[in-house]
């Protein structure tokens, strides 16, 4: 007997892997159209310069060149780039190709469509641009002064300027026994998807119709942004995202994809653009790059009295149209109190535009910014207060019986149990024993360190004023042959929704995941949903699919009851059939049921009065506790679910070489009800590895002149298997009261606390040598420099 909910919670093997692992995936670059041209892009070598002239005549003379576009064409054929998200920000008027000015190294200036990629690249070399270099704004200090302006019309370089306070922070800090205060800088790094951005644009002048195949996380929003950025009627635009080779937040805008679209409009032919790795690193979205000044007051017993923060972000040229990153600083501000009781809280946020690449989203989206300074500071406070760092956290965390918990800064936390997770961490790490070992090995000249970070992962954002506003529809349909289709606006980007959404639907119909096909990534096929961002799948898409499945299951039961002359309440779905519970002889297979409704004899006589033969249901899930109307303190709540965790890193530092080795990495994790443990664990581990990359290796470097120095994977170092220890994951289950299945989106948790845990561990290892590191990534050069400075 198959339980209706049997598939939720099972480690079903991923349906999509057969296709992907046998080379049968279809990515945008695998698609070709007759008459298709290839695009190449001319990019600025200057971080900041006026464009005096662009001469494309040489390129146009080259055989095989069909179209060349510049900023002038972008203005004539399109409109200013549409805004993705505008929350208290200044929005610049910019185009996909530079108009009058370039604002970062790598900014597109002109583009060519030709009969081959080679011809297109040769033609790009023949375009002559006359630049007048301007003083570059590289650092936050440059932007503050300002030595020059990115957008002269603003009169300053601030894109975001926002303050918030609840309670009397000044008194809270003044009344504290100890105040810990520190600047926490964080370097620039980003997600590096295996598949870079790829776009095939096909504009048909005859129909005025545009079809865009693109590697994106959000096809529907891209369709709307294309309509707004081109002045085309949206119903004439189709966006298709087939298999997508990774997103991580970096594929949520159309700034680059507008270029092949404009080339297709200009040439009247299909145009494909395949971004190379240099282009992806120099102009794909960048993230992090901030300094957070944090002051936290503590009583002698370790409990917090108040938190005061000042967060300053280096946003590159833009984080509103070119990409959607600026609001990450606001998410950070709202979540700085983290999982702790904070009696008073104040934060100032400023985001400066600079001559660096666009500021976008990357696994974390500000939740990492909230986490890193606080979790670093907690270990500094533990040392100062002579309280064990896990114990200090235990004394401040929200207790399990306090949920749903109204955090002082606005968010409403749904569920969790930090004290139990802390206890589990102690046990798994054999913590007291580790501390003894640590002392012993230090005497042998081995420097082991342990570092912690508590994790809070707001998931499923619903942000006002833009394309990330947080709702999700799903349609579930039964075919006349008795199989199921799930139509979702959620997008498969490798995270396993073809399996997990199938598990959720299949559970309602007593069928296997192989009887359910998840349809996604085609704006002509699926409802207007919001794609994949903010770990929203298990919050929004799962809930919508579940509710639509329940609704369809009820309709199928009513029809089956009519045919079987039974009561719908007595029917159950089991093994591909619907039957009277306990009477297996009175059953219809789903194929028989579908056939009866649609074919033999058909709907009249099978469908009961009040129902119709349309065997599908659509439900739209909205976050039940999202609040955009500020309360009397000015607080709003954007996230529906909040996975929690305690992370621990054990490292060994070689003081002679400055080398940091990861010895153990332990994750105690709670994402509510887990649909597929195999996939959930992979999400955690993948995120952790990206956090490790940011902590130890990955950096998007600029020199002081604004030149970009990390243009390939020998300068931008990604983690590889030998550096990564087994990530030990332990799940807790605190079901969310705000989703129908108790699930919580959970794709970012791994990335959020990992950098803090690792740097805390490195500082713990080097404590006897009086070394304190405060910069990421923790390169051997930095470790050696700090040791030298301390006289070692």
């Amino acid at each position: 007997m198959v339980d209706a909910s049997n598939l939720v919670g099972q480690s079903v093997r991923r349906k999509e892997d057969v296709r992907l692992l046998t080379g049968h995936g279809q990515f945008v670059d695998d698609i070709s159209l007759p008459g298709m041209l290839y695009a190449a892009v001319l990019r600025s070598p200057y971080p900041h310069a006026r464009i005096r002239s662009v001469d494309v005549s040489g390129a146009l003379r080259l055989d095989g060149v069909e179209a060349v576009i510049t900023g002038d064409d972008a203005q004539q054929l399109g409109k200013p780039m549409a805004v993705t998200l505008d929350l208290f920000t200044k929005v610049p008027t910019i185009y996909p190709l530079a108009v009058n000015k370039v604002r970062y190294v790598g900014e597109p200036v002109a583009a060519v469509a030709a009969t081959s990629r080679e011809v297109a690249e040769d033609a790009v070399e023949l375009i002559v641009v006359d630049y007048e270099p301007l003083p570059p704004i590289v650092s936050i200090e440059d932007a503050e002064q300002p030595t020059s302006l990115l957008y002269e019309e603003w009169g300053h370089n601030r894109q975001l300027d926002w303050q918030f306070q609840v309670g009397d922070v000044g008194s809270a800090l003044a009344g504290a026994d100890v105040v810990i205060s520190e600047d926490f800088p964080h370097h620039r790094y980003t997600g590096v998807p295996l598949e870079s951005r790829v776009c095939l644009a096909d504009y048909r002048p005859g129909q005025g119709a545009l079809t865009v195949w693109m590697s994106t996380q959000a096809p529907h929003q891209c369709r709307t942004l294309f309509a707004q950025s081109l002045g085309l009627p949206e119903h004439q635009i189709t966006v298709i995202a087939p298999d997508v080779g990774g997103g991580f937040g970096t594929k949520l805008q159309i700034n680059a994809e507008l270029i092949p679209v404009l080339l297709s409009i200009k040439s009247g032919r299909p145009v494909k653009w395949t971004e190379d790795r240099y282009e992806n690193l120099v102009s794909g979205v960048h993230t992090r790059d901030y300094v957070c000044h944090l002051e936290v007051g503590f009583r002698r017993d370790g409990t917090m009295t108040g938190v005061k923060a000042s967060l300053v972000g280096n946003l590159g040229c833009d984080g509103t149209c070119d990409a959607a990153g600026t609001a990450a600083l606001l998410v950070a501000a709202a979540y700085l109190p983290g999982p702790y009781h904070v009696p008073a809280f104040g934060v100032d946020v400023v985001g400066y535009v600079t001559n660096k690449a666009p500021y976008g989203a990357y696994r974390g989206y500000g939740k990492d910014i909230a986490n890193y300074p606080m979790e670093r500071l907690m270990e500094m406070a533990a040392e100062k207060l002579h309280i064990d760092p896990l114990e200090l956290r235990r004394r401040n965390v929200i207790q399990p019986d306090e949920y749903p918990y109204q955090q002082i800064s606005g968010p409403l936390y749904d569920s969790g149990d930090y004290p139990a997770m802390i206890a589990k961490a102690r046990e798994v790490l054999d913590y007291e024993n580790f501390r003894r070992q640590q002392d012993e090995t230090r005497r042998e000249g081995k420097y082991l360190g342990i570092g912690f970070a508590a994790m809070l992962e707001p998931s499923g954002a619903a942000v006002p004023n833009g394309i990330f506003n947080g709702y999700e529809p799903a349609t579930v349909r039964m075919t006349p042959e008795g199989q199921f289709l799930v139509f979702t606006g959620n997008q498969d980007i490798g995270q396993g929704i073809e399996t997990t959404l199938a598990q959720v639907a299949a559970s309602q119909f007593g069928v296997s995941v192989d009887d359910v096909r998840v349809v996604f990534g085609d704006t002509n096929a699926v409802p207007y949903g919001l794609g994949s961002f903010s770990s929203r799948g298990a919050t929004y898409a799962v809930s919508a699919v579940h509710r639509a499945s329940v609704q369809l299951a009820n309709k199928l039961k009513r029809i089956a009851a009519n045919i079987l002359e039974a009561s719908a309440a007595d029917l159950v779905f089991t093994q591909g059939a619907v039957e009277v519970a306990g009477v297996p002889s009175r059953r219809l297979t789903l194929q028989e049921l579908g056939n009866k409704v649609y074919l033999w004899p058909g709907p009249y006589g099978t469908v009961p009065p009040g129902d119709d033969p349309d065997l599908q249901a659509t439900e739209t899930f909205m976050g039940p506790r999202v609040r955009w109307q500020p309360d009397e303190q000015g607080r709003i709540n954007l996230y529906t679910t909040h996975p929690t965790g305690i992370y621990a890193a054990i490292v060994e530092v070689d003081p002679e070489l400055g080398d940091v080795r990861l010895r153990r990495f332990v994750v105690i994790h709670d994402a509510g009800v887990i649909i597929n443990p195999l996939i959930a664990e992979a999400q955690v581990v993948g995120g952790v590895v990206q956090g490790m990359g940011g902590a130890l290796w990955e950096e998007l470097r600029y020199d002081e002149e604004g030149q970009f120095l990390s243009g390939d994977l020998t300068s931008y170092l990604l983690p590889t298997a030998p550096e990564i220890p087994d990530v030990e994951v332990y799940h807790f289950v605190s079901p969310s009261p705000f989703t129908p299945l108790g699930t919580k989106g959970m794709g970012e948790g791994g990335t959020i606390p990992t950098p803090a845990a690792i740097l805390n561990a490195v500082n713990d290892a080097l404590r006897p040598l009086n070394v304190f590191l405060n910069d990421l990534p923790i390169t051997p050069q930095k470790v050696r420099a700090a040791l030298r400075q301390a006289g070692h």
Binding site: P45, V105, E125, V128
Partner: protein
């Protein structure tokens, strides 16, 4: 990127200085140079094609010799643009002749890379610069030798 080094050429200082500042000699000795046309006194329009490791491509540029103090010193300024970016070189060059009529050349200066060159080439730029400078002086020595033998024959 800092450029610094010294070279020796077995020729009198006047010959070496003349060769280093003579466009006819430079057009034969600058690595990858395709054309060098004077546009003004001591100012030349240059077309180069350079290909070493990731740094390859065609450049359009300007070569200016200035602060000429024959035969002991001059400054060289070069800017070259290609699709991949811009290279700017500023060099101070000092010459001195020893008792054996060997001229010692000391140069110090800066090279700035931008665009793709900076992003892909920075790590190997100093190696590329050294290779190009070595190629230049090897060619220059040959040129000075052939000038000397032409003068004596």
């Amino acid at each position: 990127m800092r450029l610094q080094g010294q070279e020796q050429i077995e020729a009198p200082i006047q010959t070496v200085f003349t060769s280093l500042t003579d466009p006819r000699v430079l057009s034969k000795t600058l690595p990858g140079l395709q054309s060098l046309e004077p546009t003004d006194a001591n100012t030349y329009r240059a077309r180069l094609s350079v290909g070493i490791a990731a740094v390859r491509g065609a450049f359009d540029g300007m070569l200016i010799l200035r602060e000429l103090e024959p035969p002991t010193a001059y400054a060289l300024y070069m800017t070259a643009r290609g699709a991949g970016g811009v290279v700017e070189v500023t060099l101070r060059v000092h010459l001195a002749e020893d008792a054996n009529s060997v001229t010692r050349i000391e140069y110090t200066g800066e090279a700035a890379l931008s665009g793709v060159w900076a992003a892909l080439g920075s790590r190997m730029a100093s190696g590329v610069a050294q290779t190009l400078i070595r190629q230049f002086f090897t060619a220059l020595r040959q040129e000075v030798r052939s000038l000397a033998s032409a003068a004596t024959s």
